[in-house]
């Protein structure tokens, strides 16, 4: 197969950047999108040019390293699929393909198609965990967890932290990412204990880092490669509201003492 590629090139964070046109030929339909880019890079290296930088690692759809808007869509045209699991058979022979990095203020470009997503780590550091140490833990079967809760927690925990939700959102909101973590832990008795504190701190941190607000367009759900649903956002909103009420109550109690 042959393709014309219009790829975003940007030397570093300070550079303005722009689209550059390349052509590639002799691509197998069974090649993955990255194997096609590998072939392009081999051509560029052969010609003494700088190869295109892009983030990728496991190439089996689980590590969440890969990103890319392909023809304007995060992770390309297939539903529930990361860029690394996209194959060239999903494109027409001779097609022109636009390839760009995530575009969002909280994810600045590092080079070409690579962005800095450490804002996600900061959100997790704000409370995306259960505060326990490695030791002195009671037997795992001490607390029974209803299977439906465990299954729903798993569905939320399947998030790979790739950032497609932010990339797809007209407001560049990280709400689905935060909601997935809040839901995962809120649905389990082990995570319930610090539920209120967690949701408050994570939402606060998301706001501080410059992500936008959620206006319920649900683009995030449509583009999420792990098909995480917006039901998690509803759950987070309920958690958040309850936490606010709880916090006020807490204040009143301490006043009355």
């Amino acid at each position: 197969m042959n393709f014309t590629l219009k790829i975003w090139r940007q030397k570093n964070a300070a550079d303005k950047g722009g689209l550059v046109t390349y052509t590639v030929g002799d691509i197998s339909a069974d090649s993955s999108f990255f194997e096609m880019l590998d072939q392009l890079n081999q051509l560029l290296i052969g010609k003494g040019e700088d190869p295109v930088s892009f983030d990728h690692d496991c190439r089996e759809g689980i590590c969440g390293t890969c990103s890319l808007y392909i023809n304007g869509r995060p992770h390309g045209p297939l539903k529930g699929t990361t860029t690394c699991q996209l194959h060239m058979r999903s494109f027409r022979n001779g097609e022109t393909i636009f390839v760009e990095p995530w575009r969002c203020g909280a994810f600045p470009v590092i080079k070409d198609l690579i962005v800095d997503r450490s804002a996600f780590d900061k959100i997790i550091q704000a409370g995306g965990y259960v505060s326990i140490n490695s030791g002195g833990i009671p037997d795992a079967n001490t607390i029974a967890v209803p299977k439906p809760n465990a299954d729903a927690a798993f569905d939320a925990a399947a998030c790979i932290g790739c950032g497609a939700c932010v990339a797809s959102c007209p407001n560049a909101s990280a709400t689905l990412f935060v909601a997935a973590k809040v839901s995962h832990l809120a649905l389990l008795p082990q995570g319930r204990v610090e539920g209120e504190r967690r949701v408050r701190k994570m939402v606060e941190t998301m706001d501080h880092l410059g992500f936008g607000n959620c206006s319920n367009t649900y683009a995030c759900e449509a583009e999420c490669p792990k098909e995480i649903t917006v039901a998690n956002i509803a759950r987070m909103n309920r958690e958040f509201l309850a936490a606010k009420l709880f916090a006020d109550k807490e204040k009143q109690v301490s006043f009355s003492l």
């Binding site: 090649s31 089996e60 590590c63 194959h87 780590d121 997790i124 833990i137 079967n141 465990a150 299954d151």
Partner: protein
């Protein structure tokens, strides 16, 4: 000859670890915060170790090459994690898990370490559940288990087909909490390129900031390597693209011994190679063999017709199919261990019975199970795997058999460590897949996750205090010391050399060439003649790389080609060591099949008389041959027997 003493406590196996813990020297909390520890890698072993050491109050510096610790390759593990919980009341216990691991490793692992691993396994599950890892559960709300990798008990805990992901997120969360509390400082997008040794002790690392290209000096009182395995020496493997041997290799060059490098695991159920530009291989969980039957055509003509796509597999009549695993191993059938299943597939394809366009594939057929249990039951068990297969191959496994072929998956070899997980360099530790310790010559399914977390959460945090208790009077190590200067100079010189070669050939070209040599001569089956010729080829490749590699881009910028060039150069040197190790081990054992050592019916033949030892290699300089040292293995508790699956 270096005396390799594991230093396991005396006394009965079952009491060694508790006696160690009872007598181990501790570090006072006031002193802990004055002690710095570097942890390289944030997979299950590295993240769990860094988090736990941070909880204890040490000053931890955590390094990863990925943009965030959550992406380390442990995330890709599918199947599950073993633990001797006996929740199923099916007769499991610590001894049985220990025994299965020693036997599965073909009697080439150390009894003391493996017993400790088995005894710690239940605690891992307790901790992970408390962290919020959403393991599979029964309707009663308690944890579910499955049988895995041909064991007779159900001791594997799992989270659908994403167990590694969920466990890693647990460890990453614990790590994030420590980062927030300030006990761990994260250095992401860093390649650790050298280990700094001062007065014989590991005291720091040289790292390259992958974004700015800056070379950085980091000092510590101890250094822990959790940088994973070296399967990418084969170019095509199930490892992530960035997985590399570099930190372990620099440790080797600084005096740490490298043990059993030739022990690699080839996993039988991977998606076959599609063409020359393939960049990596995808594993399909071993659990598929529970319900799938493996076959190739009985007639070579049929295989040829299939390769040319003139017929489809369903057209081959039942009587013309060779279910070769069921034929050769009636007792275990399709559930024989990984090494046996992989070799049998290679044997059929070598004989000309392979299918797929390349002829390097066999069928994994679910039609019998679908007829017996229904589509729904099969979809509940393997739905996500079938979907993944269809996405990659564009075939529907509900309608036509899957095609699979073995691929490099895990490396049992690694840095030699003692009972305390310390290498032969004082203060330098190695945990997880990066060390050699627990899996012998073959790893059992669902044991890698167990080992990574056992080392990181429960073993290293104790054993490192034995060393650090003697370091409490050592002030923070200064990075202005001459050893840091010379290390950083060495790194910078090598980078200049790579960039200034300005040859004609790209890094990938060399990596692919190395991969082909390793796969052909040091893969599933090895022979004296093949290994000898591989040694020559690798030597030539090494020279060719030095004189003809092309590394575009600058040093002080984001430059993935430069990262790859460094890693591939290390892989070429490692390849040489692996071949030497395979040459000296003239027996077949576990994943290492020596053609000269087989029974009359073609099964692997182990030689306990001559080879019941760990081969640990010492670096002797760039142009000198490495020296081999032996740690003799003693089996006081389990009597070695020849594995038989017939």
């Amino acid at each position: 000859m270096i005396n390799l003493n594991a230093g396991a406590p005396r006394g009965p196996l079952a009491e060694q670890w508790s006696s160690y813990k009872a007598n181990c020297k501790l570090v006072n909390p006031n002193n802990k915060r004055k002690l710095d520890i570097i942890v390289v890698g944030t997979g299950l072993a590295g993240a769990s170790a860094a988090a736990t050491l941070g909880q204890l109050g040490y000053n931890v510096k955590s390094f990863c090459y990925q943009d965030t610790p959550r992406r380390a390759h442990s995330i890709a593990a599918q199947g599950g994690i073993n633990a001797a919980k006996n929740y199923q009341n099916d007769g499991d216990n610590v001894f049985r898990l220990f025994y299965d691991t020693i036997k599965g490793g073909d009697y080439r692992a150390r009894e003391s370490n493996v017993y400790r691993l088995a005894s710690i396994s239940p605690e891992i599950i307790d901790l992970c559940v408390a962290q919020g890892v959403p393991f599979a559960r029964e309707y009663g709300g308690l944890l579910a288990n499955r049988s895995f990798g041909g064991t007779q008990v159900s001791r594997t805990f799992y989270a659908r087909g994403q167990t590694g992901q969920q466990l890693l997120i647990g460890a990453y969360s614990a790590l994030s909490r420590q980062i927030a509390e300030g006990t761990v400082k994260l250095y992401n997008r860093r390649d650790v390129l050298d280990i700094v040794v001062i007065d014989g002790k590991a005291r720091g690392v040289i790292a390259r900031n992958l974004v700015t290209g800056e070379l950085e000096r980091h000092s510590a009182h101890a250094v822990v390597l959790a940088s994973g395995g070296y399967g990418n020496v084969f170019y095509l493997s199930t490892n992530a693209m960035g997985s590399n041997v570099t930190p372990a290799w620099s440790a080797y060059k600084k005096g740490a011994l490298f043990a059993n490098p030739c022990f690699t695991q080839i996993h039988p159920t991977c998606i076959p190679v599609h063409g020359e530009f393939q960049s990596k291989l995808t594993l399909m969980s071993e659990s598929l063999r529970n319900d799938g039957r493996i076959w190739v055509p009985k007639e070579k003509e049929d295989a040829e017709q299939l390769r040319q796509k003139k017929i489809i597999p369903e057209q081959i009549h039942e009587s013309k199919r060779d279910y070769y695993l069921e034929r050769r191993y009636p007792a275990f059938g399709n559930l024989v261990p990984r090494d046996v299943a992989s070799r049998a597939a290679k044997e059929r394809c070598d004989e000309g019975y392979g299918v797929g366009t390349s002829g390097r594939a066999v069928f994994l057929d679910f039609s019998d199970s679908i007829n017996r249990l229904g589509v729904e039951a099969i979809s509940a068990r393997y739905g996500n795997l079938f979907q993944m297969y269809e996405r990659i191959v564009d075939d529907n496994p509900y309608q036509t058999p899957m095609m699979i072929y073995p691929a490099v998956h895990y490396t049992m070899g690694g840095l030699w460590v003692d009972y305390e997980l310390m290498t032969t360099v004082p203060g330098l530790y190695s945990i997880g897949e990066c060390n050699f310790s627990d899996h012998g010559a073959n790893r059992l399914g669902a044991s890698a996750l167990m080992q990574g977390l056992a080392d990181g959460y429960f073993v290293l945090p104790y054993t490192i205090s034995a060393y650090l208790s003697n370091e409490i009077h050592t002030p923070a190590i200064q990075t202005t010391l001459p050893e840091f200067h010379s290390a950083i100079q060495g790194v910078s010189d090598r980078i200049d050399q790579l960039r200034n070669t300005k040859g004609k050939t790209s890094v990938d070209h060399f990596h692919k060439k190395l991969g082909k040599i390793m796969w052909e001569y040091c893969g599933m089956s090895r022979s004296e003649a093949g290994l000898q010729s591989a040694l020559g080829m690798i030597g030539e490749l090494k020279e060719e790389f030095i004189s003809d590699v092309r590394v575009p881009g600058g040093m002080k910028e984001y430059n993935p080609e430069l990262e790859k060039a460094w890693r591939v150069q290390d892989f070429i040197e490692l390849g040489d060591l692996m071949v030497r190790d395979a040459l000296q081990r003239k027996e077949s054992c576990g994943g290492h099949f020596r053609e000269e050592s087989q029974t009359s019916d073609g099964e692997a033949l182990r030689d306990d008389e001559k080879f019941a030892y760990v081969a640990a290699w010492q670096y002797k300089g760039n142009s000198a041959e490495p020296a081999m040292h032996r740690e003799e293995l003693r089996f006081d508790t389990v009597k070695p027997s020849q594995r038989s699956y017939k």
